[in-house]
């Protein structure tokens, strides 16, 4: 274990002024630079996040009153179907894996680029057309069978929209698989000399687990979608009961991907949180190996729990029991992570900047989704709340309170590295407070709505749920407003923000030991491993590191 405090490392300035060639035009080109591709992913997926958010706002506007009065029932079903599809397949999955995976992995591993740069660019450029295609479906009648697209409804509803949905998902799935091949190869083969698997930053472990899940599960979804498309256009009967097909087989295939998809969406964010908390707590990550291996455990268990989405689908009882127990067991590795994060911040010196606020918000909100997750794993209880607003609340605490809070934390944390400039702290905090409040007002009441008897995917509901629904809708508007401080802050800071210097957070992982933004091949000269990724406080206290760029460490000489 080589250890060296940052002050002892070679001063910066050993690298030339980098990145003259990266202009705004680069981001619209078929660049093979993983950093450009990472930012392309991030900006593109964020645009889709805004679109998905607009769709959600329309959904909640319809639900502000019990009657159907804002859009027609048909359009409403299209809105929530496309909302979910966009948020999952065009925002969280590609943002967590594609954006941060691409940007960070080579930097953290000391590599010059990803293993297959061209493939990487291909994977990214599949996303915009797939997303545009999905949006165009509104012209012919959007897919309206829910993002789960269960047959027979999906076979008989809006066939054009449904086919577009399938095509779009097949493209996005292929992109995701190509990305995963790249991540796995990069992590296993491109680490700098001396960087063993057990010295990797935890984000790399998380990406390893997520990529393995993508490779194992996405092809099954592709298979299900292709068979479904045959049922729609060719009149086959794989899933169509009128021809002797079995709709439940589709559900098995769909959830074989889509349960792991939850971990594909949350594992990279787990990794990011494990990076962000130690830096802003000035303390090593607590229980490195436990966190690293629990990612693998979650990934493995995530593959064998899919039928917990099908407890009311006529699944045989003994199978329901198996899936219940397997699902509950996931709470153990997940709990290990949460407790390790808490132990990491305990006794540290917390810098409560925007990145840290979102990271702490992540832990706080994700735990609620985790608790309700264990609850819905219990078959007898799930039979009551399945397909209700309790589930809507649960998934949003996991995917919004979890993944999206984590993605925001990641953006605030790595923005200085990506752009070379700092984001505005004040507006970052405003963004956090609005998001935190809006999120909880929107989704907390949904737990009660679901328990009391409000089912999901409905445009109209019993007037007795009107008050709580109005609260949820108000929360949604706060959430919608909360994105504006972020957008303006990000655009303004990218353009005019104060210069960040190489390592504004005094972080120890390798990506901070090169310039901000890093040069084309990431490091000038061979990067050398001088310190563990989390060796904060190793020589007692390490005082007096100024925040000036001149004094920031750069072992990369």
């Amino acid at each position: 274990m080589t250890t060296q405090t940052p002050t002892q490392s070679t001063p910066a300035r050993s690298h030339p002024e980098p990145h003259q060639e990266t202009t705004w035009r680069t981001y619209f080109s078929f660049s093979t630079d993983h950093k450009v591709i990472g930012i392309q992913y991030l900006v593109t997926t964020f645009v889709f996040y805004l679109i998905g958010g607009a769709l959600a706002t329309a959904v909640r506007t319809e639900l502000a009153t019990p009657e159907v009065d804002f859009v027609s029932r048909e359009v409403y079903n299209g809105l929530f179907t496309v909302h979910a599809t966009v948020m999952i397949f065009l925002w969280i999955v590609p943002a967590g894996t594609g954006a941060f995976g691409n940007y960070l992995l080579p930097l953290m591993l000391g590599a010059r680029d990803m293993a297959f740069p061209k493939l990487n660019a291909v994977a990214f450029w599949m996303i915009p057309p797939a997303g545009v295609l999905l949006m165009l479906s509104f012209i012919w009648g959007a897919p309206a069978a829910g993002w789960t697209s269960y047959p027979p409804l999906s076979i008989v509803t809006n066939p054009v929209g449904e086919m577009i949905w399938i095509l779009s998902l097949l493209i996005l799935g292929t992109s995701s698989i190509l990305g995963a091949v790249n991540f796995l190869t990069t992590i296993l083969k491109m680490r700098m000399p001396g960087l063993g698997l057990n010295q990797m930053p935890l984000f790399c472990w998380a990406m390893l687990a997520a990529s393995a899940l993508i490779l194992l599960s996405t092809p099954v979804l592709a298979g299900a979608l292709i068979l479904l498309s045959f049922d729609i256009v060719a009149g086959t009967a794989f899933f169509n009961p009128t021809g002797g097909g079995d709709p439940v087989v589709y559900q098995h295939m769909f959830w074989f991907y889509s349960h792991p998809a939850v971990y594909i969406m949350i594992l990279p964010v787990f990794g990011m949180i494990s990076e962000i908390l130690p830096v802003h707590s000035r303390k090593p990550i607590f229980g490195y190996k436990a966190i690293a291996y629990s990612s693998l455990a979650i990934s493995f268990l995530g593959l064998v729990v899919w039928a917990h989405h099908m407890f009311t689908s006529g699944t045989p009882p003994w199978l329901r029991m198996f899936f219940m127990i397997a699902t509950m067991v996931i709470a153990v590795p997940t709990g290990i992570k949460v407790f390790s994060w808490l132990a990491t911040i305990w006794g540290g010196k917390l810098e409560l900047n925007s990145a840290m606020l979102f990271a702490l918000g992540f832990v706080s909100m994700f735990v609620i989704g985790g608790i309700s997750g264990v609850m819905v794993a219990a078959v007898p209880f799930d039979i009551h709340v399945h397909d209700t607003y309790f589930i809507v609340a649960h998934i949003h605490y996991v995917l919004f309170g979890g993944s999206v809070f984590g993605l925001y934390a990641g953006i605030y944390h790595w923005f200085p590295k990506m752009t070379g400039r700092m984001m505005n702290e004040f507006w970052g905090r405003v963004h956090f407070v609005l998001t935190f409040i809006g999120f909880n007002i929107t989704f907390m009441p949904m737990h009660k709505l679901g328990l009391e008897g409000m089912n999901r995917r409905i445009a109209e509901y019993d007037p007795k749920y009107a008050a709580l629904n109005l609260v949820c809708t108000v929360g949604t508007y706060i959430l919608a407003v909360s994105t504006f401080p972020f957008i303006f802050n990000a655009i303004w800071s990218w353009w005019k923000g104060p210069k960040a210097g190489d390592n504004p957070w005094r972080a120890l992982t390798l990506e901070w030991q090169t310039s901000s933004p890093p040069p084309v091949e990431n490091f000038v000269g061979e990067p050398v491993l001088v310190t563990e990724p989390y060796a904060y406080g190793l020589n007692g206290s390490t005082p007096g590191i100024s925040l000036e760029p001149e004094a920031t460490p750069s072992p990369a000489t």
Partner: protein, 330 residues
């Protein structure tokens, strides 16, 4: 320590007094709610623990202005890590065993054996109330509604009595966008579900067109209706009253409107109600339905082969629901 005791007490109290669940209308809802209360207790404790640690850490360990020193170099603590692996593991095991037990109590584990055993022919609804609706239904249904022979109807009996042994069987058919309930012992067909309190009901569920799900929140029970794949659910109504029956599986634009009621009667009331239905059907309800032209037409449209795209106009659909319910449930 004090915080720990307070946390435990709050969790114990909230686990019993959360007030989140609706009325407990079935025997099954009792063990399910106890399970939920236990999970709420544990969940509240965990919630308070985690949020408490975060809040205290933020207050106590905030970096002071100008303090650029690092925190202590603590990489881990094996006993602590074993502890927080073991405790959740134990909790999870307890919950799994308890859930298993609750599931056994509500009859979930026996469901499939019963499905096999229920092969004996049941009296069917042909020639009785609602025949005008039931006939096209039976033709179009690929599944169990039509396959049993229809023996002599039990109309000759002066007073109706619940069949003696086993659960009382009712058939449910989900279709866009209504439920049709058939009582095989009499052949009565209704749009609302009538059940006797205190008697185990076996609901055999089919779907006509797409997936639906039968859900009564007050009963805490839900079962998908799957075309071509009969399913079933058992429950014992506990309190007399009317509760909503909700379709919980997306079935098309009018999914949110696919609602009816379950009406739980005392056994005597149930018998009286059933008697009334039989009399009504004998004295020409059949004819009334046959001439209820708009209703009948829309039902037929609903039942049209569903491979063709379902271009049913909303007007027709809205007509469907009220006449059917009125015709059979009055």
């Amino acid at each position: 320590m004090l915080a720990g005791i307070a946390l435990t007490l709050v969790s114990l109290w909230y686990g019993q007094n959360h007030g989140l669940m609706p009325l407990e209308g079935s025997e099954e809802s009792l063990p399910i709610d106890s399970l939920f209360n236990l999970m709420m207790t544990i969940g509240t404790g965990l919630f308070l623990l985690v949020q408490g640690v975060i809040v205290v850490a933020v207050l106590r360990f905030r970096r002071r202005q100008g303090d650029l020193a690092d925190g202590p170099y603590i990489e881990g603590n094996i006993p602590l890590e074993i502890l927080w692996t073991a405790i959740p593991a134990v909790i999870v095991m307890i919950l799994a065993v308890y859930s298993f037990e609750v599931y056994r109590q509500i009859g979930g584990l026996g469901a499939m054996d019963h499905a096999m055993a229920h092969a004996q022919p049941q009296p069917q609804m042909a020639r009785l109330a609602g025949a005008a609706i039931a006939a096209p239904l039976a033709e179009a249904s690929p599944t169990s509604l039509a396959d049993a022979p229809s023996p002599e109807p039990v109309l000759s009996d002066a007073t109706y009595q619940l069949p003696g042994d086993g659960p009382y069987e009712i058939q449910a058919l989900g279709l866009q966008y209504a439920w049709i309930f058939t009582y095989p012992d009499t052949g009565v067909v209704t749009g609302e579900l009538h059940v006797p309190v205190g008697r185990e009901v076996l609901l055999k569920i089919n779907a006509q067109d797409v997936l639906h799900a039968f859900w009564v929140p007050e009963y805490r029970l839900k079962q998908d209706a799957i075309p071509g794949r009969p399913t079933e659910i058992r429950f014992t109504p506990r309190t007399a009253g009317e509760y909503p029956v909700i379709c919980a599986e997306l079935c098309g634009p009018y999914h949110g409107a696919m609602k009816t009621r379950v009406i739980a009667h005392s056994p005597q009331e149930f018998a009286a109600w059933m008697q009334e239905q039989q009399v009504a059907s004998a004295s020409g309800l059949e004819q009334a339905i046959a001439t209820a032209d708009p209703a009948q037409r829309s039902v037929e449209q609903i039942l049209a082969p569903h491979i063709e795209s379902l271009g049913i106009s909303p007007e027709v659909l809205q007509q469907l629901h009220p006449p059917m319910v009125h015709a059979h449930a009055s």
